[in-house]
């Protein structure tokens, strides 16, 4: 029997790669491993599940059994990978099983970053990065009225907006001067903030949390400006760190993520990396669109047609119905300036290079209708 293509991880990266491979090759043996139940679900929907009335159970689109059938693949759920041996071309699981591979794909995702908080309730701070997290979070949300959210980036702001649907009062804390700081220039950040504030989100910018203490049935947050705040629940959304541990222990080159070239190949023969764990030619972009570009290219490569990944400019949608926002930030370090216009009911910020060509944008409110047109005018990212 020939060794299979072995995919570690069944998130959007792992499962979509398997689907793309099956579109091209019906018979190559496929094995997928996940430490969770390996449900197929849409991770972006975790941060608008409350408004759409979804639970962890109804967010599951397909079970591992159904995916195994559809993909004609072996799916090992609730199994933890503990080591990769690139010279023997095999992977070890915690229970002792050893899996051989022809090609190995690392689609291991990323871990939420934990702030170094002190206080006896620091371990009770939640983060939501998968379905199991969401189940815990929604159970704790029952009866909560005030929620503190640490981090005013995309995920923090989306959860804040979503909680309004449940009558919760969310307060967002972030040391940055304005929300979505990585996506929006200052004035657009202020406009975004005002839009969410009008809907009921409270922002405490320029402030970080230092510690969390238990206080009866609630929590007391100690803040960097010396003040305190009370909350029934504390949610952390301060960023993600690619899961590089398994690769690093196998002497595969890592940087911020698992380093790959344009063919998604890592430094070890027969090993590729995709999704949130990967750093593709220096870019780690934890979003669905880049994943779809990656899996289409890699599926071709693994079925015999070496294909480099290309990235068009890929705007990021911020799912905040209180103020719909879409942003395509300019490449880091690029010279240029933001030019703002104020169409009725919105804000358009265009980043122009010194020769006047667009290299990025942020569209808020009514201006989001220009997304397609403007995205097509941007240079490709890769």
């Amino acid at each position: 029997m020939t060794a299979p293509i072995l995919i570690l991880g069944t998130g959007l990266a792992g499962y979509n790669l398997a689907r793309e491979i099956r579109k091209l090759d019906k018979s190559v043996p496929l094995v997928l491993v996940s430490r969770d139940d390996a449900p197929f679900y849409s991770k972006p929907m975790l941060s608008n599940a409350l408004a759409s009335g979804k639970s962890a159970a109804t967010l599951v689109m397909k079970t591992a059994e159904r995916m195994a059938e559809e993909l004609d693949a072996r799916i090992l759920a609730r199994r933890q990978v503990t080591a990769i041996d690139t010279s023997a071309r095999q992977v070890s699981l915690q229970d002792g099983e050893v899996l051989p591979y022809r090609d190995l794909v690392l689609a291991l995702g990323a871990d939420p970053i934990r702030l170094p908080l002190d206080g006896d309730a620091a371990p009770e701070v939640l983060s939501v990065n998968d379905l199991d997290d969401f189940a815990r979070f929604s159970a704790r949300l029952d009866g909560a009225r005030r929620v503190a959210i640490l981090g005013g980036g995309l995920i923090g702001c989306e959860f804040a907006n979503d909680m309004l649907a449940r009558g919760i009062e969310p307060t967002v804390f972030d040391p940055a001067p304005w929300p979505l700081g990585r996506l929006l220039p200052e004035e657009a950040g202020a406009y975004f903030r005002a839009g969410l504030e009008a809907a009921g989100v409270v922002f405490r910018m320029g402030i970080s949390a230092i510690g969390v203490d238990r206080q009866g049935a609630t929590y007391r947050l100690r803040l960097s400006d010396g003040s305190v705040a009370e909350a029934d629940l504390v949610l952390s959304a301060v960023g993600l760190r690619p899961r590089i541990g398994l690769a690093e222990a196998a002497a595969i080159q890592v940087g911020r993520g698992i380093v790959t070239d344009r063919h998604l190949a890592s430094s070890a023969a027969g090993v590729s990396a995709i999704g949130d764990c990967a750093e593709v030619v220096g870019l780690s972009l934890p979003f669905v669109m880049p994943i779809m570009q990656q899996v289409r290219a890699l599926a071709k490569t693994l079925t015999g047609t070496p294909t480099a990944v290309s990235y068009p400019a890929m705007p990021v949608l911020v799912k905040t119905p209180a103020l719909p926002t879409v942003a395509a930030p300019p490449p880091a370090g690029l010279a240029g300036e933001w030019v703002l216009t104020h169409p009725e009911g919105g804000l358009e910020a265009l980043f122009l290079t010194p020769d006047g060509s667009p290299a990025g944008f942020a569209l808020l409110g009514a201006a989001t209708s220009r997304k397609q047109v403007l995205a097509a005018s941007l240079p490709a990212w890769l």
């Binding site: 959007l12 979509n16 689907r19 197929f40 849409s42 972006p44 929907m45 608008n48 689109m61 669905v288 669109m289 779809m292 570009q293 949608l317 209708s369 220009r370 997304k371 397609q372 047109v373």
Partner: protein
């Protein structure tokens, strides 16, 4: 008129509303959208959408 949801990112295509920014007039049937059309939010193919009841 029916509604379809992208199973990867949750994007919803509502036949009644269409997607005027993308040249799909209100009332454009799912069946009449070309097969090479992709989800505007995440880029998955038309075949990866599923119908949802609303």
């Amino acid at each position: 008129m029916k509604t379809f949801q992208c199973i990867v990112c949750g994007f919803i295509y509502d036949e009644a509303a269409g997607l005027p920014e993308e040249g799909l007039a209100p009332g454009t049937r799912w069946a009449d959208i070309p097969d090479d059309w992709a989800c505007p939010d995440c880029g998955v193919a038309k075949s990866d959408f599923e119908m949802v009841e609303i």
